[in-house]
Symmetry: C2
Subunit: 358 residues, 2 copies
């Protein structure tokens, strides 16, 4: 087992990474002292891991809520379902909520934990690569609004993140590829060496090589923990983690959160961010090629046919990164170096959208 830490003063917490951790009772006894625990999962993950987890959590009082799977179900209505269960079971402020599943389950369970009795303890038990490398760390919780992605939510840090890498063995290949989009992102924003490593290990990762996956989970969590520790509320550097996300969210939003997995939209978003960086004169053509090629080799889309450029632009305008009416973009000045800017040419943006969409 590897242990990392997100350093946030009194709200610091460990990220535990290893094979079979969901079966280790001592670990939960040490970090999760609540007597009453609500486990939130979904219809795909629950049949695989819930029974074993419930055994691990004994003798706590464990209540379970199973939600439908998929980004289109990340709604306020489903968060209300979780809250109703907490009230119906008379859980007190000393209870805890645990998310067993991917990013969708984690975002909703976390938002319910953030708002139940103005905040109760929350544990992240991510079972997808995307959740293990990204969404389970950092305290962003929330739901989608028909008008835009993640528009409703709260910052609410977990008390523990338990990434059981054994769960990746049952992860569908499509979900594995989607998770790698966020991994590529970390290399792009701040670690050129890691990006190079990914270029030479992408086949092993896609084949499910356990050692290679363990490496990317640890390195990704290290980078994310370091950035979140420095800028929890995204007043500065944390915005870099949104590389590809303004583009990707527009793709998700425009397709009703049904067509593409979040990670797939982010794959296309990374290709667009790199394209825009090249158009703006920051990235070389060779670097742009490396980005596009790695995204493509990962099996992620670099071009999305079912979203029109104009529609995407409309959706980008409601993104959370809009300030004073201007879309702020995360761009690359090199592989391994990202920056936030509102200083770009509109034609370059339109060209980027036209190249990768429609």
């Amino acid at each position: 087992m590897e242990t990392l830490r997100v350093e946030l003063g009194s709200r610091s917490y460990p990220i535990l990474i290893g094979q079979g951790l969901l079966g280790e009772r001592a670990l939960f006894d040490q970090h999760l002292r609540a007597r009453d625990l609500l486990v939130v999962s979904n219809t795909v993950v629950a049949p695989l891991y819930l029974q074993a987890l419930e055994a691990t959590l004994q003798p706590r009082r464990v209540v379970v809520t199973i939600l439908p799977d998929g980004e289109s179900h990340k709604t306020l209505a489903n968060v209300e379902r979780i809250l109703d269960v907490l009230v119906a079971n008379r859980f007190g402020r000393d209870c805890a909520v645990a998310a067993l599943g991917g990013g969708v389950v984690g975002d909703m369970a976390g938002f319910a934990a953030a708002t139940y009795q103005r905040g109760v303890a929350f544990a992240q038990l991510p079972t997808t690569l995307l959740a293990q490398v990204d969404s389970s760390v950092g305290g962003k919780t929330g739901v989608n609004h028909p008008g835009g992605k993640n528009l409703i939510g709260a910052f609410h840090q977990p008390v523990i993140v338990v990434a059981d890498t054994a769960t990746l063995a049952t992860l569908p290949p499509r979900e594995l590829r989607a998770g790698l989009a966020e991994v590529i992102k970390y290399g792009l924003i701040c670690d050129a060496g890691f990006f190079l490593w990914l270029e030479s290990h992408i086949d092993a990762l896609l084949a499910g090589d356990a050692a290679a996956l363990a490496h990317v989970i640890r390195r990704s969590c290290e980078i994310k923990a370091e950035i979140v520790g420095r800028d929890e509320r995204e007043h500065g550097d944390r915005a870099l983690l949104n590389l590809g996300h303004t583009f990707g969210h527009a793709v998700e939003s425009a397709t009703g959160y049904k067509e593409w997995l979040h990670g797939e939209a982010i794959g296309a978003g990374l290709a667009m961010a790199a394209c825009m960086s090249r158009e703006s004169g920051h990235l070389t053509s060779q670097e742009l090629d490396r980005v596009t090629r790695l995204v493509a080799r990962t099996g992620l889309p670099t071009h999305v046919t079912n979203v029109k450029p104009d529609v995407a632009l409309e959706h980008m305008r409601i993104d959370k990164k809009v300030q004073a009416g201007r879309i702020r973009l995360v761009l690359l000045r090199a592989i391994g170096s990202a920056f936030v800017t509102a200083d770009y040419a509109e034609p370059a943006l339109r060209h980027t959208l036209a190249t990768h969409l429609g």
Copy 2:
């Protein structure tokens, strides 16, 4: 104008108290820099003060949401309405939400501000005595759940509180009395001298004496600001502010938030807390009499006939202050000195409920 401050590091903010402040443009220009502003009000307050406020807020882009009046409308569905308006108007993370009204409007607008884009700026413009002395200060936001009062919410501090005392001139007498319940509470928990002052000035307050009201607003906000600055998240002393509230919330919950104003329920709750303190041997009979008499002279109920003791007890068990299944009560060891305890006799609690309810 008087200015107090809630000291919370980078989230510190001023409380401004005075006649006619809603008309002072310079004050808003100084403290509320957002270009886009959503004003949330209700059907009673909006006709009285909204037009003048909109003039003061020029040249900002101001959008308005008017909600129905009353505690029974403090629901997640109404918060969703506010969020829908923010999305529909494409308000960015740099917008602000302002609450113009009483505690219900403030709690809902504040919760919407807490959760829109994971938190935007929030201004409290309280127009009732209760909101000016209590609910607008301290960052508690949220809504009721059919299962219990304020069960869903968030801590989200405002950037400014503007208490325009001129608005009290239009406040219905019933609302004035309700607000005084929270004022009496401050005297009871930590300021015996203030309680004594209230005993000798209650008639002036009920007659709407401006100087007397200004004094209680300032003193109440001083006490609340001091306690919140010490214990924002209610890990300790802030719980003292809940004196009478576990009893009062049960009364509100059991009557569907329709029968009694919050402050009226708190009046009865203070009488019950004092009774329980006497039953537990902490308060003298003379002190109990003083509490009951001041509550009664204020025109607040000390006995509630339409709630059965058993029903109230059921509702108390889902209160946020329950820990490890045990109801924690705020009791008085004297007028001006409160403490939190789970160490009390069940029969005393049942006797208290039987005396004041049913």
